[in-house]
Symmetry: C2
Subunit: 325 residues, 2 copies
């Protein structure tokens, strides 16, 4: 696997000016709530409402004209799907997005808004990879993998290059960096970018009871878990990638688990202290810092808030629910 | 009145490094919803959740040591109050904040979090200026006026200097700039800063039926309206300032009015398209652009989103309510 800082820098040049430089937010109230100094990379403010546009656009811009003309396909609960639909639109391609029937409405609407064609599947009965690969064969499309592709990983890593700049600008020296983990594309890209210059302990966060990355890292082989409950759809991948596992294995990664209630608490804290809308999975890293004072109190911690695509009805319920995490 | 770009630049130097440079956000979905190219200066992401810290901190840093030692007072529904409490804390002073009994809970909590002492009054029976001035006399405090003070206006104007930088960085040439208007401190400061370099038509937005600034500008004298309904508390001042009126009179300002429902729609659009939490008054400028396609369609418009301090219960109700604006 040819994957390193140079790959990520090349991706950054490729997508420059087409994606946002998202801010690194902080709040004294959030610092009080966590006991730490928390720096939040607000990828919810990214174009399409999540970091996924970074990787998807890097892939689309790496295709041949013939591949772009034939069209692309992605399977996704929605953030990668919106990103691929947007990237296809921005590069003159067409996107087919395979989504579970129970995907958040705002994500389905988002894919369609960007001109993507939505193909639903039944997550209880069908494997999204099989549905996707069948369509790829049938329609002559190019699959844009949500994580297990060096071009995707490098694109996601561009968020890490921005974090490096922002740490320098703010004069911060973080002790830890905490990233949500679904298939591992974001974590592998950002850690590769950041850890070349910053000696911060790396953490990834998975759904409680579904530690596919923890097990994969422990065994050195890609592991599978059952389908993750839908609430945390953004970190819902039931497995990781060969490439992402190989890349993450280079770092001394600690995997943490979070519960739905911990994510809810983090969403409320982001609302109260940052004025930032986070979706459940997008709050995973912040949730871990709120829940694990034993790990993070007294530390300077970079947290990546990966997305904000949440239905208004779900968000209202979360705000109304004051159950402590 | 000695008020101009130099005053604002001096304020920017004074508060530099203590307040945030907030991002200028945009969204293709928001552009579609408005028919315009909208650039949103996200002051909800400012320290204390609104732009008010800019002016309050500039005042606190302009006081004598003796004045700071004796303490300061502000009357406010909460954004100015939080800003004065935070500024007092940051400069070693103490703040007393006079607030209406029905102020949003999140704002009362915010004032107290920053160490401010809250004194409630009954907005139906008492005049906040009288309550405030009595306490000032009694306790030997310095009043930090929410708008009618050149130091406050200059501090708010620092948001305008950032907008200028951000317009240059993005290569944008706006046709219009739209600002919420309560007492006029923000509008007078930002217009003074921006219009020295950018020829954008200036708009201010007030609550429908309570056009104190429109009437003041039309008559050339400070006008009063009855107390504005509490939902839009952030633009709730029933009057304007002598200084703010004088400063705004230098510009060809058009005053627009908005309804509560238009503010609700704008809050939902900010949630959906920007992932930004806005309070009702904080959404006023965006609401005007959404509501007035006749004015803004096809234009590049800078909108200042002034604050995000809204109670979770109110926010949930707004998200649940799909009444079109």
């Amino acid at each position: 696997m040819d994957f390193g800082t140079e790959t990520i820098r090349a991706a950054a040049e490729r997508i420059h000016g087409r994606v946002r430089r998202t801010p690194l937010l902080s709040s004294p109230m959030l610092d009080e709530a966590t006991g730490a100094t928390v720096l939040v990379k607000a990828e919810a403010l990214q174009l399409t409402g999540s970091f996924k546009i970074r990787g998807a656009l890097n892939v689309l811009l790496s295709l041949t004209d013939a591949e772009r003309d034939a069209g692309v396909l992605a399977f996704s609960t929605g953030n990668h799907g919106q990103a691929v639909a947007a990237s296809a639109r921005m590069t003159g391609s067409r996107a087919t997005i395979v989504m579970p029937q129970d995907a958040p409405r705002i994500k389905v609407d988002g894919v369609r808004w960007w001109g993507g064609e939505v193909v639903f599947y039944d997550p209880a009965a069908q494997d999204r990879e099989v549905v996707g690969r069948d369509l790829v064969a049938e329609r002559g499309l190019t699959l844009v993998h949500p994580y297990d592709d060096v071009r995707t990983m490098a694109g996601q890593g561009t968020a890490g290059l921005e974090i490096l700049d922002q740490l320098r600008e703010g004069g911060h020296a973080p002790d830890a960096i905490v990233l949500p983990c679904s298939g591992g594309g974001l974590a592998s890209g950002v850690l590769e970018a950041v850890r070349s210059e910053v000696d911060a302990a790396p953490f990834v966060v998975e759904r409680e009871g579904y530690p596919k990355m923890a097990r994969s890292l422990a065994t050195g082989r890609v592991q599978q878990v059952p389908a993750v409950p839908a609430f945390l759809d953004a970190i819902g991948s039931p497995t990781v990638g060969e490439s992402t596992l190989a890349a993450l294995s280079r770092h001394p990664v600690t995997a943490l688990e979070l519960s739905d209630d911990q994510a809810r608490l983090a969403m409320r804290e982001a609302f109260r202290t940052l004025k930032l809308v986070l979706e459940p999975g997008g709050s995973a890293a912040l949730a871990a810092v709120l829940a694990r004072r034993d790990r993070f109190a007294g530390k300077t911690v970079v947290v990546l808030a990966s997305g904000g695509n949440v239905d208004a009805s779900v968000y209202s319920e979360v705000l109304a629910d004051a159950t402590p995490g």
